[in-house]
Every structure is written in C-alpha cells, then in structure tokens.
C-alpha cells in the first residue's frame, strides 16, 4: 500500500498541472460496458473535465488525499464500492449513481444519490398484476425504514408484505423456508447486507421449488430465474447523474437533493419462467411490460 501511495504521490507531484486540470473526480468500481454506457450518458451534452479512478485497478486508495490535493468540484461515485469508498470524503460534494442499496444509513450532507430502484408503487402494481395477495421478502435490519414504507404502500394496494429478517447472506435460505405457505410471490430487494449472487440463487430456487414468481430489482436477474423485474435505462441514469452534478456545481446543496429516483423504468418479464409457473403474461403486458431478450 505504501508503494502504491508513493507511486500516486510521485505522479501527482511530477505533473502538478493535473491538480487543477479536472472538475469531477470519477470513482468507479470496475471497467465494463455498463459503466461505459452510464458514463456516456453522464458526459452526453456536457463537457466536464474528469479524472477517472477505477477501484478495480488498485488494492487501496487514499481518495481523501487525492481530493485534498486536486480540489475537484465534485466526486462522482459509480457503483456500490465507489459509494462506500467516497463516504470518507466530507468537504467535496459526492454524487452517487449505479448503487443498488435500498438506502444509505446516516447519509452525509455532501452526498446526493441517483437511485436505481424503481418506486415501491410500481412494484405494488406489478404484484397486483401477478395476482399476489401476499408478498414475501427477506431484508436486513438496516432496511427497516424502507420495509416499513413498503409495507404501508403495499397495504394500501391490498397486498400483505411478509418480511423476514436476515443478518447475513447465509441466513437468507433459512428465512425463505419460513415463508412457506405465507406468500404468493417473492420480492428481491437490493439490500447490500444480504444480497449476493448466492442470495439471488436462493430466491430463484425457492421460487422454482414453491412455484412462486420472483420479482427482482434488476432485470439482470431475469436470466437467474426471476419472473419479472424493472430495467433501468443506464444512459439516462448517467444523464440524471450529470444533471445532479450540474445542479450542485451550480450551487445547489447535495443535502437538498439527497435521493433522485430513476427516470426511465421498463417492466421486463421472463416468458419461460411465467409459463413454467403457469402464470399469464397478459397482465404484465398491460402494465407495459416486455419480454426479456
């Protein structure tokens, strides 16, 4: 780590012009086409001077020192790890995007988030279309406020939200078993404390074994066994992040912005899964849903 710090410091000192050459420090989790799409939307029509740090390329980073020396106007955190790494930055505004977390506990005042999760009302409409009266989900204790909010909204929609609490991913399968005969559908929420690829698989298996449709927060899970999910337009999500960054750089406070829901959301469903479960797809089509490719 010391060697890496030394290398970064030497590079920065050797090129002092860099310290004032960009406006936004972009910190992203990894390199992939998804991030490229999102950043393309972020840079579309705007000409921010950016410096990009890919966390995947470094074992550890001293982002605080970099921000203190470079004095960027804003830090764009792309991804969940980037959001976690930038939480130590207190003085510079941070815009988080492409982070699946339901909510950030004790969000700092310099953080503004462009959320990826569809509004709870959309999920409630979806479960109604699937004919589910009882919807089971597993959440950690950190999502209690979101759970309470969702329960209220579901209740208004005539759906009973059955919540099981798990402290860690290993507890999810056991809690799912406790949902037996108590739920008509499953809801997979982006709770960072328990959601892993194994957790997604556990939800899908439970869905398969008990013939319950699984609704996920990501359309990527449609190939994992989810019956339906809401897909986010990543490029538009980048645009939302750029708009938020522009507002902050124009003088808005991040504290006033806090959370911005995704703007373009499309319902997707897996026809094969629906057929296996014996569920009709027409209600989903009426909700504007489309079959996943």
């Amino acid at each position: 780590m010391r060697m890496l710090f030394c290398v970064i410091s030497v590079v920065i000192l050797a090129f002092p012009g860099l310290s004032s050459a960009y406006d936004i420090l972009v910190v992203q989790d990894q390199r992939s086409h998804i991030y490229d799409t999102l950043l393309r939307g972020f840079g579309n029509g705007r000409h921010f001077k950016e410096r990009i740090i890919v966390l995947q390329d470094f074992a550890e980073n001293d982002l605080v020192k970099i921000v203190r020396e470079d004095h960027p106007a804003l830090v764009l955190a792309v991804g969940g790890r980037a959001l976690a790494e930038t939480r130590v930055i207190r003085q510079t505004p941070v815009v988080s995007v492409f982070s699946y977390g339901i909510t950030v506990s004790n969000p700092p005042p310099n953080l503004a988030q462009v959320k990826m999760l569809a509004p709870i009302e959309r999920f409630a409409a979806l479960f109604r279309a699937l004919g589910a009266k009882r919807v089971g989900t597993v959440l950690s204790g950190t999502a209690s406020s979101y759970a309470a909010k969702a329960s209220e909204i579901f209740r208004k929609a005539g759906i009973h939200l059955v919540i099981r609490e798990a402290r860690r991913p290993g507890d999810v399968a056991k809690q799912l078993e406790s949902l037996k005969n108590t739920a008509d559908a499953l809801w997979l929420l982006p709770d960072p404390a328990i959601v892993t690829s194994e957790t997604v698989e556990a939800f899908a298996l439970y869905s398969l074994q008990h013939h319950l449709p699984l609704v996920s927060f990501s359309d990527a899970h449609l190939k994992k066994g989810a019956a339906a999910a809401f897909a986010i337009d990543l490029e538009d999500l980048g645009k939302q992040a750029a708009e938020t960054a522009g507002r902050i750089m124009a003088g808005d406070s991040p504290e006033d912005i806090q959370e911005i829901p995704p703007r373009k959301i499309r319902l997707r469903f897996n026809r094969q899964v629906m057929e296996h479960l014996g569920l009709p797809v027409n209600p989903l089509l009426h909700l504007g849903g489309s079959e996943a490719e």
Binding site: E201, A204, L208, H210, N270, Q272, V273, H276, L277
Partner: protein, 527 residues
Amino acid sequence: MGIIQRLIFVIKSFRFRLFAIFSLGTTLITITLSLNYIEREKTEFREHASERARLLAKLLADNARLPLFADDRASLQKLAEETARQLDVVEVKISDVNGVSIAGIQRGRANSSRINENLAITSDAEGDASTLALKGRSTPISLGNVLVSLDTASLDNSIRQMTISIARYSCAFWLMVTIFSYLVLTRMTQSYGKLMEGLAAMRNGNFTVRIPIEDVDEPSQAARSLNDLADALQRHEADNRLLQEKLLDAMRLQVQEEKRQVMAKLIQTNRMTSLGLLVSSMAHEINNPNGAIRLDGNFLGKMLHNIMPMLEAATRKDADFRLSGLRFDEARDEIFRAHENIIRHTNRIEAVIKDLRAYSLGVNNPFTLDIDLNQVVTGALTIIRAHGQYTNAVISEDLSSGLPAIKGSRHQLEQVVVNLLLNALQSLPPKGGRAAVSSAVSRTANEVLVTVSDNGEGIPPEHIARLFEPFFSTRIESGGSGLGLYISNFIVKEHGGNLTFESKVGAGTTVIMHVPISPCVPAGHPA
C-alpha cells in the same frame, strides 16, 4: 555325485519340499486373490463410471435447473461445455420439457462404446412427486432433461492398466513372500540342516563331530540325543582301541615269550647237540682207558690163574701165608671177585658209553622185530642212573618176564622210556620221591605195556590235552624243552601204539606206553 543325483537329492529334501509347498500355496493364494481383486475392481470401475456419469448428470441437472427454468441458454451451453470438459465425457445434451435440445456438445465418435445417463430436471431436486407430497411440497415442475455420455474406451484402458498393475504388485508380493518364506524356512530348519550335516558326518564314521544345539525344537533335541550317542560311541571306540592296544601288547608279549621259548628250545637243542658231541668225545676218551683197564683186567685174570697154583702151594707150605693181611683162601676169593668187578664194570662202562652215544646221535635206529621191552627199560634205567642227578629218588622196577617181542627201534623206545622216567623224576619233590617202572603184556589187547608212575605233583587237568603239543612245558625255566612227550608220542605212534595218562594233582601221575605185539616173533629171537 552327479548333477542329476544332486538335483534329485535337493528336490527330495525336506527343506525343498516345504519351500515348494509354501511357494505353491503362496502362488495359488496370490493368483486367487489377484483374480478376485481384479474382478472386483473391474466391477467397481464400471460401477464407478456409471456412478460418475450419474453424478455428472445430477450435477448438471442441479446446475441447469435455474438456467433451464429461466431459459438462460447461454448458461446452459456453458454448463454443457463445462461438463463436457470432464474426463471421458463425449456428449452432453440439455433438452427442454418437449425434448428439444437447448444446449449441448458432442465429441468423439457416435458409435463408440458409451455409458449414457439420462436425468430429468424438475423444479425440486430433493425427490419425486410422492416424496415431495409427503414433505408437503407441491408437485414439481418438469423443466427438461439432461444426457451425459461417457466413453468407456478410457475405462477399458484403465481396467487394463489396473490389471497390469495388480499383476506387477502380485508378482512383487509373491516374490517377497517367497523370499520371506525361504528365509523363515531356512531359519526354522537351520537346526534340522545341522542335524543332517552331523548325521552325514557320523555316517562317514566321524564320531568326533558334535551337532551344534542352538534351539529347543525337535531337531535340536534329536541332535542332543545324537551327540550323546556319539559320545557313547566315541567312548566305546576309545575303549575298543585301548583293548586292541592291550591285546596287541599281550600278543606282542606272547610272541616275544614264544620267541624266547623257541630260542630256549633252540638253545636246548643246541645244547643237546653239543651234549651229543660231548658224549661222543667222552665215549672216545673213556673207552680208551676203559679198554686198557679191561685188557689189563683180562691180563691180570690170566696171571691169577697162572700164579694161583703157586700161591696154593705156598699156602700149603706155610699155613700162615697171608696176602694183604688176609689168609690165602680169603684173599683168593677177594682177588677173583675184584677181577670180576673190574671186568664187569669195564663192560658196564662200555655199555653206558655205547648207549649214551647211540642216544645222543640217534643213529642205528632201524626197526627190528625182536625188540624186548624189558631190555629197553633196563637200557633206559641205565641211562637214568648214569645221569646221576636224581639220587634222592627211589626208582623201582617190576619187569614181567616172558614179554613177547615187538617190532620197533630199541633206541627210539629207550628214548621214550627215558623221557617218561625223566618226567616222573622231575615231578618229584627235591627231597625225594618214588618212581616205578614196570612192564606187562595184555593178551586181550595184543599189546605190551610199559608203565611209569610217580608220586609227584601231578598234572593239572587243563594241561592233559596239551601234553603232546610241541614246546609245551611247565618246566621251561628248569631246562625243559617241551619236546619230550611230543617226540615220545611221535615215536610210539610210529610203532603203532599210544601213550595214556592218569594223573591227579598232588598225588602223582601214571603213564602207560602201549605197543602192539609183533606177529609170531618171540622175545629174544631176531626176526
């Protein structure tokens, strides 16, 4: 011993037979176990391959459950490819519930030998519908099917390799066990081998060999017994050798004694020869003066006859005429008696000399038919008395008159009687004793008998049978030759007769000479 004989000996040996039995048993056991093991391994290999195909299909079905449920064909194809990368997998196929292939891969020849495993994919991996119903679960959804095919070519190769390996290990095991058996057998039969070596040495006569005893097993106990037996045999052999040495020493001493006796006999014989020569010389020296004495005696006799008338005339003239103090008539008788004594003694001297000469020289022994045994006895007595050594003994004679003549040699028969008389006299005690000689005739036996008896020491019974052996004598030290009775018996046998003995120790001996009577020839008449 030739090679074939040695080979047969080795093959028939106890150790080789045991080793052969061990080796054969080990071979049979090894082959049996190896074949059983190979057969079991082959079955296990095949079961393992089937189980492996079943597990691969199960694993694929489990992994493909969700992708098949979600119609994730890319993941299904990836799973099929991952499964196909497994060893010996030549075909993987994932089909939907309608049997339509969704993903799959095929390698190798389609007509190759395979193990196929088909497995249905359902929504619940934990069992069939009835099992799930018992568990309170809903009926599983049929999602599709997976097929995993394994090529058995490598299985056959593995079985072949396994068979070769087992054969090698079996050979190594057999070899090790055989070597171990040989070493153990050699160690266990070590005492047996030493026993056999010891027995072989003893069979060759070497009883000094002792079999080493290093154990307490049966061969060692037998070896201990054999060692004891060898000790006993060796002791007996030493005793026998000692006895033989003693016997040889005794024989050597006996030979030396016999040699000494023979030499004594030779000396005696030589002495007798010298005595004969001496006797001849003495006869010559005695006969000359004796002849002169006899001539002078005869001359004096003639002279006495001539002067006697003159002496009678003188006596008549002188009544007191005396000669050497005697009266004439007394002196005349004495003179004539002295003259007769001179003549008689000179004749006797001549006769003795003549007999001694004839006895010593052994000459003039022709057989004649007119032998008078009384004359023979008288001649023998003459010789004995002339000997003069046995003056303390009293010799009596009782000669029967009118003995018939016999055929024989007077001198030889005299020699027999002399020998018998000498034996009788020599048996008498030194202070004196009594010997007697007599003659008689037995008409019934048609033979003449001469009996010589004494009251001497007698002859032990064990010596009676040996009396006629040459050189047998109990008085070798006192000059006996051991030839007297041998020669006497020979002479009597030559005359057709025999000698008989009657003796009692301490009481005396009686010897009788039996000589047959000559036919129709009276005694004192020449034949």
